[in-house]
Symmetry: C2
Subunit: 243 residues, 2 copies
DNA sequence: TAGTGGTCTAGACCACGAC
DNA sequence: TCGTGGTCTAGACCACTAC
């Protein structure tokens, strides 16, 4: 159990926020859109741009490849992963499977204390939604999910879920989070808490699976909307300049 | 599609076999049992033992942490992951979910050529089983599964499946692969091919899920057998010496 | 035959944990 | 405080790709 705790801390504390290294800088530049999808990432360019030697750059590329925002081919270098609706669909289908499993397992071991904790997190989430604070809402949402998965998951599964979170957050940020989705999310969350409180594994599994698939549908729709808008405004203007 | 090809090659070619670096040496030493589960892995020890500087050791530990054979805690170093039946159960439950999903997706896109290719691989597998060549059989089995997953999987899912393969192979090697399992595996494989040939996603999903769960049951049983034998022969003799 | 990716060396430095 | 993990530097070398 302390094992999971460690992984949890590691993901939240170390890997994502703490390191002052260039990994987080590069990640930020990618998800902020400064480096557009598909652009090449050569070690020389990056090491001069960030004023560092090439070893840190190499490690950063390795790390970000693991996180899924960079794709690298052996001996051919790395590039910012190009992300389309197919990719998002496959990614979220995979997540739906995993999160459904983790929710089922969590339901089988959840205690009264866990349920109370989840209710606290959920009320914070709903507070953020009411206050129209999207940023904090997404953070609370992430916490809600992670708490559930930490109840049962192996470090592998936890790591997987967390690895994807950063790229998903970036996508929501880029394409916008539709306001009307919040009520559905709140509904799902409450139902999931209910399933956990009754140790109803099957219910938790199904609701969580559907919950993720719904978010997939919304995200794909947002991407399609953005694409049609973009092509209407300026056809062929999808190419952005690199560094 | 070329994307997947690259990942596939990368995993088989690069990450596992090609590199002459110490990563593979260290992995071999772990899975061969030279370094027992739970033993600490300090950078100094390893770098002197493998006669190299500490940077390669660091990378190796990072890599093997990703593969799941090493667990590392921030600022507290790394140790060989201790593996018990609970861990194996969680790991294979997770795999069952993922592989079931991938099998379903594969069934929806499988062509006649894919089915033929799978039949070739399967006949090679069955040939190895007949010839009592366990090593080659496991390899062909791995190829069978990977071929299916490469039909649909994202590089993330593929990477995940492959990351676990090495530790599972090590476990089967350590605890022994029960001969009577082969007939069940062959049966499952043929049924899976049949499901793919009819593009029957649901059948592929269910059979593949069961297939993995069965292997979980066998592996856990083998581990329990080994444990009871071990404690009967020499109680408390589970501690092995480090380097 | 470049150019570049990938790896390694041999040191240095800081941060954190154990004593 | 001392040991250790974690990161960085600045250069070297080999393998592979592209030309």
């Amino acid at each position: 159990m302390s094992n999971l705790r460690i992984v949890f801390d590691q993901i939240l504390g170390n890997t994502v926020s703490k390191q002052p290294g260039i990994t987080s800088k590069l990640r930020d530049d990618i998800i902020s859109g400064a480096l557009p999808f598909g652009s090449r990432l050569t070690i020389n360019q990056l090491s001069t741009h960030y004023a560092t030697s090439h070893m840190p750059v190499r490690e950063a590329l390795r790390q970000l490849t693991g996180e899924g925002v960079v794709e690298s081919e052996p001996n051919r270098g790395a590039r910012v992963r190009s992300i389309d609706t197919d990719f998002v669909t496959e990614l979220l289908d995979l997540r739906a499977s995993i999160e459904a499993l983790l929710a089922r397992q969590a339901a089988l071991v959840a205690t009264r204390a866990d349920v109370l904790q989840l209710e606290i997190i959920e009320s914070r989430y709903e507070g953020c939604v009411d206050a129209d604070n999207h940023e904090s809402a997404l953070k609370a949402n992430s916490e809600f999910h992670r708490y559930i998965y930490s109840l049962s998951g192996t470090s592998d599964a936890l790591g997987l879920v967390n690895r994807h979170w950063v790229v998903l957050a970036a996508l929501w940020k880029q394409y916008g989070y539709p306001r009307e989705r919040f009520s559905g999310v709140i509904n799902d969350h409450r139902q999931i808490i209910h399933a956990l409180s009754e140790n109803d594994g099957k219910a938790a599994e199904m609701i969580m699976g559907a919950h993720v698939i719904k978010s997939r549908q919304y995200l794909v729709q947002q991407m399609l909307n953005a694409a049609s808008q973009c092509s209407a405004e300026a056809p062929g203007a999808t190419i952005r300049v690199a560094i």
